[in-house]
Symmetry: C3
Subunit: 309 residues, 3 copies
């Protein structure tokens, strides 16, 4: 495994093996000094063409806990603005000695392009609407941890609710959940489903109420306010009424139904209750597991077999 550009680069065994490695990272993170020298001297460079403090901090924390050096390449102030091509930028930074690039970009496919131009590993931290593989891995880890599903998700019912069309999280999650054997239902108004969903290993529904109480995991996507001005939804209030986690729906959730969200939450829109009052809320665990999963990915790509011992 050289890169992690898409969750499709992993089969079920590959996902499960990374989740096992994550167990080890969770153990490290619980130590009084949560730091190991496993990646000392490795150089991880974050190139975020789209801002994401949350994801950048998570990767940065993960790299530091493995003693890698981390540098952030701020695109706003870079040669990209002086007309340099992306390829020249990458080749230049690579020449300084980079072991892994963590890339976020608004265009789908950029991590693949970049991996053609560099010897370093490329980790996709989100490309357009396309992929966000470490999010899918942390979501799998969180479900596995909360439901004790070490062997896979066979028979598990997961609903992903919201703006599927514009969501790289949904695309990556669908692939990972299905690879592990879960039964996934996408719940969204037709305007927020991708134009062609044929071939996706999912069912679709527009009736959230019929699923509440019947699924093991309710995964809410962030509803971007811009979608209203784009006329993809009539209003945020109507969206909440039909697709939000309202107090009424929260009451009908089983105590064991996990409630998940990739953050940042739009409170009052996709989630109209305080998630901290829900028994199955694991939203904060998702964030915590994100650091451990990214440690596992960095170690898998850059580490030596026995250097965690």
């Amino acid at each position: 495994m050289k890169h992690l550009r898409s969750i499709e680069e992993l089969d079920a065994a590959g996902i499960l093996s990374l989740l096992e490695l994550t167990d080890h990272m969770v153990e490290i993170n619980a130590r009084p000094i949560p730091k190991v020298p496993a990646l000392r001297g490795k150089n991880v460079v974050n190139i975020f063409f789209e801002d994401s403090t949350r994801t950048r901090l998570s990767f940065e924390t993960a790299a530091k806990r493995l003693s890698a050096d981390v540098m952030t390449f701020s695109v706003g102030t870079s040669s990209v603005n002086k007309g340099e091509s992306l390829r020249d930028t990458i080749e230049t930074v690579q020449a300084m000695g980079v072991d892994a690039f963590v890339i976020r970009h608004k265009s789908s496919g950029v991590p693949w392009q970049i991996s053609n131009w560099t010897d370093a590993s490329v980790i996709n931290a989100g490309d357009g609407w396309h992929q966000h593989p470490t999010q899918a891995l942390l979501d799998c880890y969180t479900i596995r941890q909360a439901l004790g599903r070490k062997g896979g998700f066979e028979g598990l019912r997961i609903a992903i609710v919201g703006d599927i069309k514009h969501s790289r999280v949904a695309r990556s999650d669908v692939q990972a959940f299905a690879a592990l054997g879960a039964h996934v239902t996408l719940v969204a108004p037709p305007t927020l489903l991708p134009p062609s969903i044929a071939g996706w290993p999912v069912e679709t529904s527009q009736d959230l109420d019929s699923l509440v109480g019947k699924v093991d995991v309710l995964y809410l996507l962030r509803m971007q306010r811009e979608r209203m001005s784009e006329a993809l939804i009539p209003s945020l209030r109507e969206y909440t009424d039909r697709f939000g986690l309202t107090a009424d729906r929260a009451r009908r959730l089983g105590d064991s139904t996990l409630v998940m969200h990739p953050g940042p939450m739009n409170r009052g829109v996709e989630i109209a209750v305080d998630p901290s009052e829900l028994p199955g809320n694991v939203i904060i665990q998702q964030v915590a597991n994100g650091v451990a999963v990214r440690m596992a990915v960095l170690f898998q790509l850059l580490g030596q077999g026995d250097s965690l011992a």
Copy 2:
């Protein structure tokens, strides 16, 4: 001691004990390799909602000298701008594993709110006009060092001059200086005094000249140019004439009168002489002591008793 949100969280003994710990940090900073492993694996996150390169660099240097990891959360590029609540932001970053938040915010009280939402320690690096406790500690340390006052400030006369109303430095300094026994006089035009000063352990004066030569410490506050357009002062020139450290007043200062300023200085306004020519100038020592004091605070909040040995 879990947080340092206000200087009021410390009594005189608590302040003196931190100043003694600072002595130890000053000794570390004088070593050829000024770095100890005391906070290895601890994660300090700076969240500066208001810019302050000076204070951020000081905390960052302090954390690195104790071998803590430091990350800066740049609010300009964060989820705060995507409509996420401050509480969700803090809980999210906290979930990545934070031991201390260093917070600067334009609103008074934010560090208290934040400490309700996190298990991490909260250090107030300035909240509105309210508090800046590490500034007060570094000011106390600088006076103690320069005047050999290890036991406290009993009988010491300190004048704080300038825009008291809008100054968190003044509020914190008054409390710390008074707790240690100093006699504090605030010198300002009435428009730059807080509306209600009743209960403050101070005297007030509008006559700087009557104090020059009689005080042990002359503490000049930064005069923000905006105050003129707000009509709080008639003009910067008149402000300097009445409340600035002019050449004439500098001549009348005793050689042993300390001259202090929290920076950044507005030369020609509150200070119309070159401070480096004043015998009692300790402005640069204040900055240097700031690193040592912040090391002491970080160690007090996050360290183990014997790990400095």
Copy 3:
């Protein structure tokens, strides 16, 4: 050697000695863990008044490989914007404990001013059109490495092509190349030559074609698009025709002619072929050597004689 503000602070022996030290750094960079503790506890502060991701990352990587701490002072958000003088800013940051300042500034001479105000070493990372000494050193190292010229550049023919007038790279390179014995020709339209070139150890030419195939090194400068609106060149197309590395000229280059560029390249302007297809292309090696040269400079200024052993 206390500062590196200009290449003129080094004579030929000084340059050659730094290039030998760079050999050692290249060896360190080739190790599985490219990191040595030589500068542990040293504090390097980047102050970039002009943006340059490329140069900043290079210095940051160099410092981290020697285990120094690095902090970046972002001028956009600093007290410089609150009206503080540059001198007060430098003295303040210095007081926090700085061993070296790496300075980039749009005005010539600023690194000299700064070195008057601080005990720290000052490294000029580019001041206006004036100097960029580490660029000259990495260019020398790249030529020495590619052509096996350990003893100097006696008899070597180097053409520097393009906007000499506005180029700190050209000024520094001319001095370094000439100090090592090379014969330098500047190739540019008269509008892009400095007003007075008397005393420079160079020839000038407007005829690139007569030199192609006869020089050992073809050094192309970045052509800034602004020069056209300033009417210094008639058009970018005509510039390329007369001074660019076109396919035709590339064919007439000897296989052993080195092609160099300080980056970022304006493809299609000063270089209208893909440099990766040229046998003598060393543009990427320049970047890689930049890290090693900056390690050598930092170690020379801050290190102890035997701490690399």
